[in-house]
């Protein structure tokens, strides 16, 4: 065991440090900030799922907000109408959404990239209207209000022992989100490094070649859809838990776009990418709309315009910059920087003989 730990490659240590950081984080920040980071983790889960679909299997989806809505409403209805424990509804919401996603993946097989994008986009557009219809079940436009759970006794005492303060329900929800995110991250990691992941990448890079090598194209494509929807469903259920409220307007079309932006900015076809992408997609709009109006050096007229145009202006500008300077997302940029640094440290001698860095698009 010790041997194995000692021989672990450095990136495993990095993973350990990051996990410890996320576990300890809420003990040093306010309960409110913990609730914001919980939201970012939820986005990270949804983006992770989208990344499996878009980044690894090469199918575009502009409708993942709809799968999140399904997960959120499944969880909310189970908790509100059938008095189930909110936390216990999370896996059910994930599985149900996963099944729906799997079924949706079957007609998607017949659609090529652009048409698939349109079909999923339509799904995102109709979802808010669809939710309003069975008003007795979904609460119609008024939505469903959920009571956030208090932390259980064991969490209370553990947290109290470590920090000496009482745990709030926002902090408890953060840990639930973190737990789900870690499990799903580990699952995604394993998935993409084994047979299904290789098959998906083969399909993405050349469908005909993959079929010739004996990859079950239809099977893996629908599987990718199903798994991806499963992630979105879990994210949706956590979303309902963290917000304490679901309504049709909670899942606008822009949510689906936000998820795709997060996936691309973080870095497609990478495992840490979704985490970075989620932090970007969640915090940048908030920060840009609150930061700009407080800067006295920006002329009033411009500040008020930016404020009224919302975060869109800053958000758009930064997005364009990232796409120009880091076309492979933040992870691609970090990787390029790491490789360049490594070369310089090793010197010119083994510049040509050094091990080839893995292409971020395929790892």
């Amino acid at each position: 065991m010790l041997q194995r730990i000692r021989r672990a490659p450095p990136r495993y240590w990095l993973v350990g440090v990051v996990v410890l950081f996320f576990i300890g984080f809420p003990t040093v920040i306010s309960s409110f900030l913990a609730s914001e980071w919980a939201q970012a983790l939820i986005l990270a889960i949804a983006i992770m799922g989208l990344n499996i679909l878009v980044g690894y299997s090469g199918q575009l989806s502009l409708g993942h907000g709809a799968f999140m809505a399904l997960g959120a409403y499944t969880s909310a209805i189970l908790a509100h109408r059938f008095k189930m424990d909110l936390v216990a509804t999370i896996p059910i919401a994930g599985l149900l959404t996963g099944m729906v996603g799997f079924v949706f993946g079957i007609p998607a097989l017949r659609l090529s990239a652009l048409y698939l994008a349109l079909a999923t986009f339509a799904l995102a557009v109709v979802t808010p209207s669809l939710i309003k219809r069975p008003a007795e079940l979904t609460g119609g436009v008024q939505g469903i209000i959920l009571t956030q759970p208090d932390p259980p006794a064991f969490a209370q005492s553990a947290y109290g022992f470590l920090t000496g303060t009482a745990m709030t329900s926002d902090q408890w929800i953060y840990y639930i989100c973190l737990f789900c995110a870690l499990i799903l991250l580990w699952f995604a990691w394993n998935l993409v490094r084994h047979r299904p992941g290789r098959a998906m990448r083969a399909i993405r890079d050349g469908e005909v070649a993959a079929a010739a090598s004996g990859v079950n194209i239809a099977g893996y494509k629908t599987l990718a859809f199903g798994i991806s929807a499963f992630y979105a469903g879990i994210a949706g259920a956590l979303f309902a838990l963290a917000a304490g409220f679901v309504s049709p307007d909670t899942f606008p079309v822009s949510l689906s776009i936000q998820l795709l932006v997060g996936a691309v900015v973080g870095g497609l076809a990478s495992i840490p990418g979704p985490l970075l992408g989620a932090v970007f997609a969640y915090f940048l709009p908030i920060e840009s709309s609150q930061w700009v109006p407080n800067q006295s050096w920006i002329p009033d007229q411009i500040a008020s315009t930016v404020k009224n145009a919302g975060p869109a202006v800053t958000y758009g500008a930064i997005l364009i910059l990232i796409m120009i300077f880091a076309p492979n997302g933040i992870v691609g940029l970090l990787h390029r920087g790491y490789v360049a640094l490594n070369r310089r440290l090793r010197g010119a001698a083994d510049r040509e003989t050094g091990q080839m860095p893995p292409n971020p698009q395929t790892v």
Partner: protein
């Protein structure tokens, strides 16, 4: 003893400074979170961007009024600071932003948060934290009606049901043989209006010959209006938010149809009427109601309340003085300041809520003469009076006298 006198002096100075920093040694019992000896912190969420960004100016107008009050020395020596966050009319953003106001910024109260869904999404949270959710900017009846179960939440403007009860009264008085067709938005907003109309007509509810609903995301309500015309309605009610309401006014003319039109007050600001006219609406026989002075109406040109409004709004560089939403913002901010003034030295959240729910009794210089903002221990609807207005081609004309529906909603 050999004590160093310099050190002693320093220690004394330190103690004096410490005492000064501590302020009054007797703890002041009558303040609360968000209140200091010279400031009051309020916060709001509004739609500065997104699909309902037209409402965003309300928050800026409210801020203009608070700035005006601060310029006069504030409320009992305390200046009001107003935090405005943009939730883009999306409840998913209202939740974290409201948490930010309460937990990070530590506001005394949230004031005039916009939107029915948005404010519903945080109502439980604010009530569980016992933070006042005062004068929400929505007319959904629930915000005043359910005061007993949500004692930290109150609305201000006339509730939608109260408004349509006033229409019902007008119908029974002036058009007792009307054949009514109702076009309503298929959500809580439209249904609230419809319920008020049906309840208000009471035994005469059979005057309604047809009612058609449309979805707010639908492209246009043309098919529904054609059905209402085919049902031989001669009076049509438009219970719709501005965009579909403007479309409906245009479509009615395009159908060569000339019914009497009742337009809900949410969609009656001048800018929307102008948009309808520009797109070909005839705008004949349009009736609505109002409770606020219209900044474009020449009869208020020399009115002291209107002149005060013009002074206040001039300090907001992005606010258009003619926009009805701005005078709404100033008027509701007036009531907020009234609550704070009444609270006097007892500046607690509980006392502010108590005043807002039970002891409002005032005329507001920005509302039509005779309209009172009033609450009692048994009636928590602040404004329950409105006056019928008709469109004269270029503006609204006040008709008759104020109709009072106080006490009809419980």
């Amino acid at each position: 003893m050999g004590r160093n006198p310099a050190r002693l002096a320093a220690a004394a100075a330190f103690l004096v400074t410490l005492g000064a920093c501590g302020g009054n040694p007797a703890p002041a019992p009558q303040t609360d979170v968000g209140i200091t000896s010279n400031s009051i912190l309020l916060g709001t969420t509004n739609a500065l961007s997104g699909p309902a960004a037209a409402y965003g100016t309300i928050a800026n107008a409210e801020n203009a009024y608070f700035t005006y009050i601060n310029g006069q020395g504030g409320v009992n020596g305390r200046k009001i600071t107003f935090k405005i966050y943009d939730d883009a009319y999306n409840p998913a953003q209202t939740v974290p932003l409201t948490k930010q106001l309460v937990e990070q910024d530590q506001v005394f109260a949230t004031f005039s948060g916009l939107g029915t869904q948005d404010q519903t999404s945080v109502r439980d949270y604010l009530n569980s934290k016992k933070v006042p959710q005062l004068f929400v900017a929505t007319g959904a009846t629930t915000f005043n009606k359910d005061f007993s179960s949500n004692p930290w939440t109150l609305g201000w403007q006339p509730p939608y049901q109260g408004e349509s009860r006033i229409y019902a009264k007008d119908i029974l008085q002036n058009h007792p043989n009307a054949k009514i067709g109702v076009l309503y938005q298929n959500d809580d907003y439209g249904q609230d209006y419809l319920k008020g109309l049906t309840d208000g007509l009471g035994a005469s509810a059979s005057l309604i010959v047809d009612k058609e609903s449309f979805d707010v995301t639908a492209a246009s309500p043309a098919a529904q209006l054609a059905k209402l015309k085919a049902a031989n309605a001669d009076t049509v009610f438009l219970f719709a938010t501005p965009k579909p309401a403007v479309q409906s006014l245009v479509i009615i003319t395009a159908l060569h149809w000339t019914p009497t039109i009742y337009l809900n007050s949410v969609s009656n600001p001048q800018i929307y009427m102008a948009a309808a006219k520009k797109n070909g609406a005839a705008l004949a026989n349009v009736t609505s109601v109002s409770y606020i002075k219209d900044p474009t109406d020449p009869q208020w040109a020399s009115d002291s309340g209107m002149q005060q409004y013009k002074t206040i709004i001039a300090s907001c560089s992005t606010c258009k003085p003619d926009d009805g939403f701005n005078i709404y913002g100033v008027a509701v901010a007036y009531t907020m300041v009234d609550v704070l003034k009444q609270a006097g030295t007892n500046m607690t959240r509980k006392n502010a809520m108590d005043i807002a729910a039970n002891r409002l009794n005032e005329t507001n210089p920005f509302l039509l003469p005779g309209i009172k903002v009033k609450t009692t221990s048994s009636d928590h609807f602040a404004i329950m009076q409105e006056q019928v207005i008709t469109w004269n081609g270029t503006g609204w004309t006040l008709q008759g006298s104020i109709i009072d529906e106080r006490g009809t909603l419980k």
